[in-house]
Point group: C2
Chain length 412, copies 2
DNA sequence: GCATATAGTTCAGATTGAAAACTAATTCAT
DNA sequence: ATGAATTAGTTTTCAATCTGAACTATATGC
């Protein structure tokens, strides 16, 4: 569900199943059934609906819903009037006075947002600041300030914060809250003080990889509604990625899967910052595209602006630079699709802004190197903006609440 | 555990957890605890051991073990004498009078073997026959003959057959028992009549991909004891593969993951039979290696023999052909390791016979294209012989028994 | 107003594992 | 030998939980 490792392995864990575990499982099921309908705002399910959705009896559902309501996760939303005969049911929805905080640290900005359990973004704050080379302590202090603003907004709106998720552009160890390596921030093996961000949230704050968060945001709020399995490729300073398999993130055994930026696409290609050669990033990273397109040095956003302008004007150097990047993206996607049995590709990050020029090149690359595997209609461009990673981090936190409702105190 | 898809996706399964499901889960746990020690033949665990292994109470374990014994899956193996004080416990082991049948269809032979639940191969029959282009019906008839021989051996030894697994060299749909595409057999979209093979086995026969089976055999009987996560690359006529993540096979959303033979390792490489270009198979497939080494046409096994001879004699064309294949294997492994966060590679199939010459080249390729990701000690050569796929298919069937013990009738 | 239909609650019954008391079988010290 | 100590396994009681059936509550429609 969230960004946890999904490769468990161990057969006989030392924890046996007890009778109480049945209830835990059913609390999750009931919550999932109520959450499922949260996109359809008017028709909240009744207890009877939940019973037929889950296969539980009405009696059990009543008892389970009562417990979820006690812990503040679920609330009634007034009687449903359906014009049918019989006693009308009472609609159930995820509580709008509980929420989670999504956070993002990126090279040029930090941001924090408040998502209520219903999935509505209730607050959203961004602070532009150059973080490259800035000390982790200093960045975390700025972020803590932003978060406390969000927290007071939440308090003012009567929303209790249950947990949070932080996305950073680099390899992370989710379990220990450590950034192993974030080249663009120049951070290496940094243990972030996550405990300080949301001291009162019962579930604390989890650390995630930015590209993985963006891939999940795409799953929950973007093309994931169409695709269950896809490679998400995020163009940032480098090229990040996320693998979604069966509507779940594939994080790999150490949570560091999806590094499509370092798939080798040409064994005689240029040296890469990772120490290898011919990685996708050396062809489709920002620097490579700008250089190939002849865009002079400057800030990333200015250069991107300029590229977009030239693309629009039909400048040959620009279009062929982007087409070349797209072709190599197609090659990397072809290898990935073969390896992992994937059938769709979603382009995000700065690739979104090159969408009309880069997507056709990706389709051509795929057709040349893995014909028949990914149909043209299954190469999509993300429509989520800069907030994708934030949404993904918040969504992950939200889902970890929904996956473990029993860990919350009954009084809330 | 077995070859099922491990990407499940749906959070709320339609079947609710009932109190009885707790017992099902604990039956599996107890069985796993008993199975865990099956490699250590003398020291079978007692009920008390199982209790401490699983965290269940002795009372519960007694009851669960009684049920497993009733259904014939577990048997007592006499009192353990440990020289310690106190009442000696009674050793428990998986029943040796229940078993599963592993089967393999390959280009040059078919085979069938009987594995008892303890993991011992009790019978093993192979029939050399050229299957390329032979009709599926005809091959299945031959296989059925072989299986019935194995079945009568089993009956003679008092072994009841619970289920079976069949490995074929091609893409399969496990759920429907269909071979989507097996180029080397020239089979396409063939529904094999699996039901006829073991008509009396309660769990029937499942269909698996050969390279995946070999990867699992490696997991259970080979280097899997050292590595929890690895890419298995199987050299056959083509180049097949299997991905093991967290000691489980990663089969992908449609059960067709692991096709490392068609990872693009050189975008300007030769055309591939898959319709793409520069696939690993065009550099490391049998034909490519033989051609590069200057081995004249002939049967696959004769040419392989010849290659091995020349390698041993230090023939330059042969060693450099194999080194080239190894280098490209290293490139494909580098991309795979980055994408899926893997840290080991196991070479199998005919690569085993080139082991001393090809493994160092793979290590060099990895060091060049993904430095630091896979240490040299984690590039291994399989030591399982031709029976790897058979063992994997049987092991998968065995594990599907152990994963669903409650589906067997109590009387056995 | 009353039959009908649907929502939700209450209560007895069954399944299951935990905990504790109990029986069984063995070693060790005297 | 004999009894204390120790460990294995069983029996009994109890609490948690779901199911199913009976019941209450609230609506529609004739």
């Amino acid at each position: 569900m969230s960004l946890e490792k999904n490769a468990d392995g161990g057969a006989a864990r030392p924890v046996p199943a007890r009778v109480e575990d049945v209830r835990r499982g059913n609390l999750v099921r009931v919550l999932a059934a109520i959450a499922q309908a949260r996109t359809d705002p008017q028709r909240h399910p009744t207890r009877a609906d939940v019973a037929s959705l889950t296969g539980l009896t009405k009696a059990s559902v009543s008892s389970l819903v009562a417990e979820l309501a006690d812990s503040g996760l679920v609330m009634e939303s007034g009687a449903t009037r359906d014009g049918e005969r019989g006693r009308p049911g009472v609609g159930l929805k995820l509580s709008t006075n509980r929420g989670v905080v999504g956070m993002e640290i990126n090279v040029d900005y930090i941001s924090a947002g408040l998502l209520d359990l219903g999935g509505t973004l209730r607050a959203d704050k961004t602070l532009e600041c150059g973080n490259r080379g800035r000390s982790p302590e200093s960045v975390m202090a700025l972020l803590a300030g932003l978060v406390s603003e969000v927290a007071s907004d939440a308090a003012a709106a009567g929303i209790e914060i249950l947990g949070g998720g932080l996305a950073v552009p680099g390899l992370v160890e989710t379990a220990s809250g450590t950034v192993s390596s974030a080249p663009n921030l120049q951070w290496h093996n940094v243990a972030l003080g996550l405990g300080g961000l949301l001291p009162d949230a019962p579930l604390g704050t989890a650390l995630y990889n930015e590209a993985n968060c963006a891939a999940l945001a795409e799953l929950w709020y973007g093309h994931g509604l169409d695709f269950r399995d896809y490679l998400f490729v995020s163009g940032e300073v480098g090229v990040g990625g996320g693998l979604v398999i069966g509507s779940r993130l594939f994080a790999g055994p150490h949570g560091q899967a999806g590094e499509v930026g370092h798939v080798v696409v040409d064994p005689s290609g240029p040296d890469c910052s990772c120490g290898g050669r011919g990685c996708l990033e050396t062809f489709a990273g920002q620097e490579a595209i700008f250089a190939e397109a002849g865009i002079p040095a400057g800030t990333a956003s200015a250069r991107l602006e300029q590229l977009e302008e030239r693309l629009g004007a039909g400048n040959t150097a620009a279009t062929s630079a982007v087409a070349r990047a797209g072709r190599y993206l197609g090659i990397a996607a072809a290898s990935t699709a073969r390896l992992m049995d994937l059938s769709a590709v979603v382009l995000g990050g700065h690739f979104t802004r090159m969408g009309p020029w880069i997507a056709p090149a990706v389709v051509r690359g795929l057709a040349e190197y893995a014909p028949g595997l990914v149909s043209p209609g299954r190469v999509a461009v993300s429509e989520l903006g800069q907030s994708a990673a934030l949404l993904g981090a918040a969504g992950s936190a939200l889902r970890s609440v929904l996956a473990a409702p029993y860990s919350l105190a009954p009084a809330g």
